[in-house]
């Protein structure tokens, strides 16, 4: 039932945001900033950059709430997508040459600091476990493509494998993750 409620909340917030209702923006921020911030911090490795990415994501939502389509995904996913893109842009601007794998190795799987959303917390834990159980080769490909926005070609170079191999590892990893989460009974619309 939380799926239905979550979708209803998202469509309600969308309509109010389009109507320039500031209370809707604060509600969206209070609900989803912790996800967006955690994602941006993982990508940039820098709290200041993460703050900038989150700010830009919410300002973009406020400026163009019409672009969020609740039928295509949740508001949390949408905001995280905006924050991710900004974070990757900031990362590219600040790092001339960085070895992504080194950065990845330095990023131990962090434990969450805020989990007052019980349902979200259970899902987040399940995602982390799911990712941890993926073969390392898949995990690396996903991390490079998702967290750093690298193309197949760049992923292949980073991993020292042919481009086709990079693509198949990424696809297999993404499919396994999506399938395992759904097999475990989790639904994206319930986020």
């Amino acid at each position: 039932m939380s799926d239905v409620r979550s979708h209803a909340d998202d469509t309600r917030l969308r309509a109010l945001l389009v109507a320039a209702d500031e209370a809707a923006l604060t509600e969206a921020y209070d609900r989803h900033a912790p996800s967006a911030y955690a994602l941006a911090a993982r990508i940039t490795g820098d709290p200041c950059c993460a703050e900038d990415a989150v700010q830009e994501a919410f300002v973009e939502l406020w400026r163009h709430p019409e672009r969020f389509d609740p039928a295509a995904g949740s508001l949390r996913t949408w905001l995280c997508m905006l924050a991710r893109r900004r974070a990757i842009d900031l990362l590219r601007r600040q790092s001339v040459q960085r070895t992504h794998l080194t950065r990845l190795a330095g990023q131990a799987p962090t434990e969450p600091t805020v989990e007052d959303d019980v349902l979200g917390a259970a899902q987040a834990k399940a995602v982390r476990e799911c990712v941890r159980e993926l073969p390392q080769l898949y995990r690396d490909a996903i991390a490079l493509a998702y967290y750093y926005g690298l193309s197949y070609r760049q992923v292949a170079i980073e991993l020292g494998v042919p481009e086709g191999t990079a693509k198949s590892r990424l696809r297999a990893g993404l499919r396994l993750l999506a399938d395992r989460m759904e097999a475990a009974g989790y639904s994206l619309s319930g986020q």
């Binding site: 320039a20 900033a33 995904g73 991710r84 990712v131």
Partner: protein
């Protein structure tokens, strides 16, 4: 896979590729669409894998930055309409192709009904000087029209007094703030129509919004009585609307018999014309009116929600189950004319 943008599918799914040709291809190619869907689902899970509280100072920084690019709305005139748009949008998101084709009220399909609602929303925007481009589906048409209205009024409180046409059989111009209440009314009614078409129970607006809707309907009644040739100058009926959104009202049966306090012909304000009322809740609903030129000749009593559906023509006056006392023909005339105030 020549011809497929295979190298860009994951980038597209992650939101990194804004190339419209990729979007167009994915929209029309089953295998690519499935690939994108898998990647997008995985990305959504990855984005939800961690929570971390941002520094508390970020919240006010975000709000200040948001305000600097787009001013927040300063009026509550949109509340009822925005609320109805929100719940109706949620329903439309979940309709199947068969649902859209289902027969609904008035010989229309669900899609035609939604398109009709969108056209009435667009008419208000057109009166404000905004035109809308064609949309490929009824859902997108309605979403675009309602978005435009919400966005325009949300940023332009100065327009609320601007006269626009109301939807309905008889052309009436009213200030935009009243038209927005009518948009909330029509959206609610068609929301219930669509639900009925797919065998779901009807919905009610929140009491505060329902109170605004019935008050608007009552304010239109004196003029509508005259237009229908049933005006009775100087005659008033007491309307007691019970339940959530209810209140007690005195309604004149002709705009020509304006109460002493209105001092002129029907104007443009919500409480103008011969209507006077108090939209308090039913529990404490005491009679309030300006019937100093004569006591009401009849009393009509029915639930506020039922009266709202009667206004929309969804319940015929004889079937309204209203409790009537006093001058029965006058009361029935009021109900019969009220039932013509829908937006068809």
């Amino acid at each position: 896979m020549t011809g497929h943008p295979d190298d860009l599918l994951e980038a597209y799914a992650f939101g990194d590729c804004a190339d419209p040709s990729v979007a167009a291809h994915v929209g029309s190619c089953g295998p690519c669409s499935a690939q994108v869907s898998t990647a997008a689902r995985a990305a959504a899970w990855l984005s939800a894998s961690h929570f971390e509280a941002p520094p508390i100072t970020l919240r006010s920084r975000v709000l200040a930055a948001a305000r600097s690019v787009r001013a927040p709305s300063i009026s509550s005139a949109l509340d009822a309409y925005a609320g109805q748009v929100a719940v109706f949008g949620g329903l439309l998101d979940d309709l199947s192709a068969a649902d859209w084709r289902a027969p609904a009220v008035g010989g229309r399909t669900v899609a035609e009904l939604v398109s009709h609602l969108a056209a009435n929303d667009a008419q208000v925007a057109a009166d404000l000087g905004f035109t809308a481009p064609p949309a490929p589906t009824a859902r997108l048409e309605w979403r675009d029209r309602s978005d435009r209205l919400l966005r325009t009024v949300g940023s332009r409180a100065d327009l609320l007094g601007h006269p626009v046409r109301l939807a309905g059989r008889v052309p009436v111009r009213r200030p935009l703030r009243d038209a927005l209440t009518q948009r909330a009314f029509e959206t609610w009614i068609h929301h219930s129509d669509v639900r009925a078409a797919i065998a779901l129970p009807p919905v009610s607006p929140p009491p505060l919004h329902l109170a605004r809707i019935v008050a608007l309907g009552l304010s239109l009644l004196p003029g509508a009585m005259d237009t229908a040739g049933r005006g009775r100058p100087g005659v008033a009926v007491s309307v007691r609307l019970t339940g959530p959104g209810g209140g007690s009202f005195t309604v004149y049966l002709s705009a020509a018999a304006a109460g002493p306090s209105s001092g002129g012909p029907a104007g443009d304000s919500a409480a103008g014309g011969s209507f006077a009322g108090s939209a308090g809740d039913s529990a404490g609903g005491s009679f309030a009116g300006s019937a100093s030129d004569g006591a009401p000749v009849a009393e009509v009593r029915l639930p506020a929600e039922r009266f709202g559906r009667l206004l929309a023509g969804r319940i015929p006056a004889p079937a309204s189950a209203a409790e009537i006392s006093g001058d029965r023909p006058a009361a029935l005339d009021l109900l019969a004319v009220a039932a013509t105030l829908g937006c068809e």
